[in-house]
């Protein structure tokens, strides 16, 4: 068999797909829940950055994973609340407010990193913690699955779990029902006594929690440090992933998984002597094409529905 095909079909390839898909799954769920409530949160980039930074700094000072996780989530929710306050209460356009918050997050993290660690690039001088990898004894005996699923970072499994939690919240809680109602027809929801602003705010808070988990995974699992603008557009890719999946749990998961495959391919194609820029551009072109096809399909359905 062709050595290239062999490396793609190996378990280590799928292992790395899950590894690189995780920091997209989390923010994609965050985008999805905000989109269901009717306002797309494009501030996930900023939320992830702030949480990634907070996690690293707090863990360096407390040496406690739980406290760092908790503070990182608080920090992410704080940014989401700011977005909610400005867009819902102060009537700012949510896209512009989110752009401002992304700028804010990118600047404040580097600013504080310099104040704390006297470095503007990475936090390697801070002794921060990472979340552990998990080894399941029962998986050991199964040949292929073990190679793919075993020994992943614990947050990778939490990402899977989050997809399920997202499903439960959206389809099996009163809050989920209200979020969907508000997103589909705010006037109707309001007329039966649903507080639209409050529900949208709750959706944004949840979106902050998912985004925060993504940020924590980046700086305390995927790598072991915080780096300037380390999200590298994942918060934006997440928008594409969730819209491919129609904001549904499994759809969003597969949208993110698709980007995981493309990213992992980028790494696995590297030895093939193709200029790295050409490989790196693939995920973005794929996003544009998929998004266009997806939007074309949805808008057609809508038009049919309108007739």
């Amino acid at each position: 068999m062709d050595p290239f095909l062999k490396s793609i079909l190996s378990t280590s390839f799928l292992f790395s797909v899950l590894r690189v898909a995780t920091p997209i799954i989390f923010p994609a769920l965050g985008v999805a829940i905000s989109a269901l409530s009717g306002s797309v949160n494009i501030a996930l980039e900023g939320i992830m950055l702030v949480s990634a930074f907070t996690g690293v700094v707090v863990s360096a000072y407390t040496q406690n994973l739980w406290i760092s996780l908790f503070s990182a989530i608080l920090a992410g929710v704080f940014i989401a609340l700011l977005l909610g306050y400005f867009s819902l209460k102060l009537k700012a356009d949510i896209i512009l407010a989110a752009i401002a918050l992304n700028l804010f997050s990118s600047s404040i993290t580097v600013f504080l990193l310099y104040i704390i660690a006297h470095d503007k690039g990475v936090s390697s001088s801070l002794k921060s913690l990472v979340f552990p990898s998990v080894k399941f004894a029962f998986l050991e005996k199964i040949p292929i699955l073990s190679g793919i699923f075993n020994n992943q970072n614990i947050l990778v499994y939490i990402a899977f779990l989050s997809v399920f939690v997202y499903y439960l919240i959206v389809f099996h809680t009163p809050l989920g029902l209200k979020i969907r109602a508000v997103g589909q027809n705010p006037e109707a929801a309001s007329s039966v006594g649903v507080d639209v602003v409050k529900i949208k705010l709750y959706a944004l808070i949840l979106s902050g929690v998912f985004g925060a988990l993504g940020g924590v995974y980046l700086s305390m699992g995927y790598v072991s440090w915080f780096g300037r603008d380390m999200t590298a557009g994942r918060g934006f890719i997440a928008i594409a992933a969730s819209s491919i999946g129609g904001n549904l749990p499994l759809g969003t998961f597969f949208g993110s998984f698709l980007f995981g495959v493309v990213y992992a391919l980028t790494n696995f194609l590297a030895p093939l002597n193709i200029p790295s820029e050409i490989i790196q551009v693939i995920p973005y072109i794929v996003t544009i094409i998929v998004l266009t096809f997806y939007s074309a399909r949805v808008s057609k359905e809508k038009e049919v529905g309108e007739e």
Binding site: A92, D93, L96, L103, I115, K120, G233, S243, E277, L291
Partner: protein
């Protein structure tokens, strides 16, 4: 007084937002800096301390003005096209490549300059056409499309320069140097202010005339003002969405090439310079009005140069400016910010009118 406040309410609100931004920066400096008074002086007065620094403000404002216009035109149509960043970059890269390819023709300087600037401008228009068309035809999300296109533009440009036009003798990743007869002249001694700044100012007035005094400009603003009204009153929304993106792209492309020809004289960026995002900032501060965008760009450049002076001479990092910028934009975009003040003044004014006209009788 109250009438004055009501008439210039938006302007006053913007100024108050900026003042709050300044107050926060003073507060941060007091907390963070070991010599706060000095630091405050560097931030606010630093940019005016020498001719070369004032020059720096104008130099930096030049690309921001171009990108601000590029963002404002689609924003006027309520199209959140944030593609100026990538358009600026890729037009500069392909423009540089084009200039190097036709170098052999030995064209007279003026024709050469015009030809290259035109090529880069049209390239920008082409790059703006992509999201415009995909949005208008397939209803794809404009923000996501343009964000992805920015990354695509970045990687394609770097590939083009590093693999095909790289100057291997330079010691760093950069394109070959452009021939001297294509340079845009730097015409103020001791600064790098170049002809591109004059082109930027001309672009401001062209864009202003276009938006407020032409039919297409009117249609663009109408689509932004009320999409459904525009659609049902017979405006070709498809055309407006595509053309607002294309025309925005033209300005970003022109700005990218002018920056290369006026300042660097070769394509030396290895990361996105961020002028497109600055364009979003100034478009917000300037309420998508090209003339106000020109002032907003100079203001932003002033703030940035202050930040650089601060970074250089004190213990406070440059990124503080980004924090201040974001606070200012948040307050300006927040429509309800100070709205109750306006409401109260309006009520008071109305009451006065009623009494004056004696309508009680």
């Amino acid at each position: 007084m109250e009438k004055f406040v009501l008439k210039y309410f938006n302007l006053i609100r913007t100024i108050i937002a900026i003042l709050i931004g300044f107050a926060v920066s003073v507060l941060i400096l007091v907390i963070v800096s070991t010599s706060s008074i000095e630091s405050i002086k560097y931030l606010f007065l630093g940019p005016f301390m020498s001719v070369s620094r004032i020059g720096n403000i104008v130099e930096l404002a030049t690309p921001i003005i171009f990108c601000g216009i590029a963002i404002a035109i689609p924003f006027q149509a309520s199209q959140f096209n944030v593609g100026a960043e990538g358009t600026f970059f890729i037009s500069a890269a392909f423009g540089t490549a084009f200039a190097l390819i036709i170098q052999k023709l030995n064209l007279p300087g003026f024709i050469y300059i015009v030809l290259v600037l035109t090529f880069a401008t049209l390239f920008g228009g082409f790059w703006g056409f992509i999201p415009g068309y995909l949005k208008a035809r397939f209803k794809a999300n404009m923000v996501v499309l343009t964000l992805m296109l920015n990354y695509a533009a970045y990687f394609l440009s770097i590939y083009l320069i590093n693999y095909h036009f790289r100057d291997k003798s330079a010691g760093f990743l950069t394109s070959y140097r452009l021939p001297e007869n294509i340079f845009l002249k730097q015409f103020v001694p001791n600064t790098r202010i170049h002809i591109g700044f004059l082109i930027a100012i001309a672009s401001v007035f062209i864009a202003y005339y276009f938006l407020y005094h032409t039919t297409l400009g009117y249609e663009i603003r109408m689509v932004g003002f009320n999409f459904h009204f525009a659609k049902y009153s017979g405006i070709d929304v498809f055309k407006v969405i595509v053309l607002s993106s294309v025309i925005g792209g033209l300005f970003a492309g022109l700005g990218g090439m002018a920056e290369v020809m006026g300042i660097h004289r070769r394509f030396l960026w290895q990361s996105l310079p961020g002028y497109g995002w600055d364009g979003v900032v100034v478009a917000i501060i300037g309420k998508n009005n090209p003339i106000l965008i020109m002032f907003a760009s100079l203001f932003l450049a002033y703030l940035r140069i202050g930040g650089r002076v601060l970074n250089l001479l004190s213990d406070v990092p440059f990124e503080m400016v980004g924090v201040i910028e974001s606070i200012i934009i948040l307050l300006i975009t927040a429509e309800a910010f100070l709205e109750n003040v306006k409401y109260r003044i309006t009520v008071k004014e109305a009451e006065k009118e009623v009494f004056k006209n004696g309508s009680l009788s």
